[in-house]
Amino acid sequence: MNIVVCVKYVPDAQSDRSFRDSDRTVDRDGVDGLLSELDEYAVEEALKIVEAAGEGEVTVLTVGPAAAANAIKKALQMGADKGVHVEDEAIHGSDAAATSLVLAEAVRKATSGTPELVMTGMSSTDGVMGVVPAMLAERLGLPQVTYASELTVGEGTVTIRRDGDTASETIEASLPALVSVTDQINEPRYPSFKGIMAAKKKPVEQWALADLGIDSSQVGLRAAWTSVVSVTKRPPRAQGQIVADEGDGGSRLAEFLAGQKFI
């Protein structure tokens, strides 16, 4: 089983994330970036599948600026076999639809047109839309089984368990398919010293739009199907009243709620 895992490079959520004044896109230079934490679960699950099968390869694919190479590096250190980095000035400012176009063409090229299993995280930790997996599946003509909290790959099929709001569901699809995983599915491994050393020798392909047959007019800020008109920093919430419990904390809480008409 050969698996392509899509991983995104995102600004660290612990740092002060912001937007560039010039074009209202995410400032990816001013802050530390990392492999989107939720994509680690997809990498881990892919590694487990290949390890259990005893054959196959895990390719990690990212679309992003030069620094996004760090996301690939981390995944290779965890144990992925090779990386694909699609980087092109023209991609800057792409919306979800354009991102999925680039990912789709890159998946096709990486698998010579015949993907077996494509995996993603449940959402990125910056855009947090949770739509790229479905868009990618649509473009590749694949069934999607998303939000997997358990995953089993069988003979020509993939089965997941999804922990829904009203029911726990078992969902099945035939391969090839696209699967997105949640943070409930596993415990991502930390790169070992051996893994870190081995990653240095693993191949990483560098592709530009031309390598994928995508015209630069199809992506980027100007081609986006959505447009950001304005970005405003919210004033931090004014700090409210904080009281220490001196035996009357519960009553004071009830008093506050009554004052706000919640009771």
């Binding site: 959520a13 612990q14 994330r17 912001s18 939720l38 919306d95 979800a96 449940m122 930790t125 839309m129 949770g130 739509v131 790229v132 997996p133 479905a134 868009m135 649509e138 003509g141 999607q144 089984v145 998303t146 939000y147 089965t159 922990d163 029911a167 726990s168 569901e169 078992t170 969902i171 099945e172 035939s174 398919a177 949640t182 943070d183 986006a224 199907w225 959505t226 950001v228 008109v229 970005v231 405003t232 920093k233 919210r234 919430r237 700090q239 409210g240 009243q241 904080i242 220490a244 419990d245 009357d248 904390g249 519960g250 009553s251 809480l253 009830a254 709620l257 706000q260 919640f262 009771i263």
Partner: protein, 318 residues
């Protein structure tokens, strides 16, 4: 007036609150039409009409049951092509966003997710998103195709505005591709009798500080008629079901009142509750980051503060 399609969020005709909100919002943009996929429209029709649906498009055949999101995307795509609506509104939950995602690619239309406000602007439909855990507000428009907007629950107070709600049955042939992923087993979860987490006006959540005893949290929630949520630490410990998790990888809630009990306030938790109108916390550590967000906070032990508050609420309610 141009038609605005609203995807009905329902379980066998039992409507979720989001649907009335979407219809209310759709009226700002044009004339709402509901799209009801699956059985039960006879139960839903009255309410759909009450909140302003002029028409109710119904697709109810076996092909739509048990096949996840792809058939609904095909249905909406067919309707978009036929009706050229001014916009399509869907609920911003996992399924709604995925349907919208496929619809976006099928129709070459821009998609905005997690909108907390939608209005008619000078350059077409304008939306507001609250991003980076609530630290920024972003105003956006759609520049290609039919604007598709996934709207978060609790983004508008629902208002009735009776319309005809005329049922129009439509037949959309389903492709084999749409049926490639199917639900083979479904185990319903036990109903708690409490309001649904994302719809509730009040949410009381417990964290690691409960030490696994959610009794005081549930009692307080019940005194207020609230839904119960949990932090990931509480979910990972197996104290509360994952479907109750609030945060980045759980539910995003935006109630009138959010009460965080024994929760420190990690960025990933904030991402799920920061847009709540009023925030209250009970935590024994006065340094807990959750206190940066609160309108009212009690520094104290939840096991004494909550029972007292519960008694007081009950007394006040009489």
């Amino acid at each position: 007036m141009a038609e605005v399609l609203v995807l009905v969020d329902h379980a066998d005709g039992r409507l979720r609150k989001a649907t009335a909100e979407l219809l209310t919002i759709a009226r700002r943009l044009g004339e709402p039409s509901a799209v009801h996929v699956g059985p039960g429209v006879e139960k839903a029709q009255v309410t759909l009409a009450k909140y302003g649906a002029h028409k109710v498009y119904v697709v109810d055949d076996a092909d739509t049951a048990g096949y996840l999101v792809a058939p609904q995307a095909e249905i909406l795509a067919a309707l978009v092509e036929k009706l050229a609506p001014a916009a399509v509104l869907v609920p911003s939950n996992a399924a709604g966003k995925e349907i919208a995602a496929r619809l976006s690619i099928k129709t070459g239309s821009g998609l905005i997710t997690d909108a907390v406000d939608v209005r008619a602007g000078d350059n077409g439909i304008e939306t507001t998103q609250s991003v980076f855990a609530g630290s920024y507000s972003v105003t956006s428009t759609v520049t290609a195709g039919t604007p598709i907007v996934a709207v978060k629950p609790n983004s508008a107070p629902i208002e009735a505005s009776p319309a005809a709600g005329v049922i129009e049955t439509v037949a959309v042939p389903m492709s084999d591709a749409a049926k490639a992923a199917r639900v083979t087993d479904s185990r319903p979860k036990q109903a708690t009798g409490r309001p649904e987490l994302t719809e509730a006006a009040i949410v009381v959540s417990g964290g690691r500080g409960t030490g696994g005893d959610f009794g005081p949290v549930e009692a307080f929630a019940d005194s207020l008629g609230a839904a119960v949520g949990a932090s990931r630490a509480a979910v990972d410990a197996g104290w509360y079901p994952h479907s109750s998790q609030v945060g980045q990888t759980g539910k995003q809630v935006s109630p009138q009142l959010y009460v965080a009990v024994g929760i420190s306030g990690a960025i990933q938790h904030r991402a799920g509750m920061q847009t709540s109108k009023t925030i209250v916390a009970v935590n024994k550590d006065e340094e807990a980051p959750i206190f940066e967000l609160v309108d009212f906070g009690v520094v104290g032990d939840l096991f004494s503060v909550l029972p007292q508050a519960t008694e007081d609420v009950k007394k006040r309610k009489g």
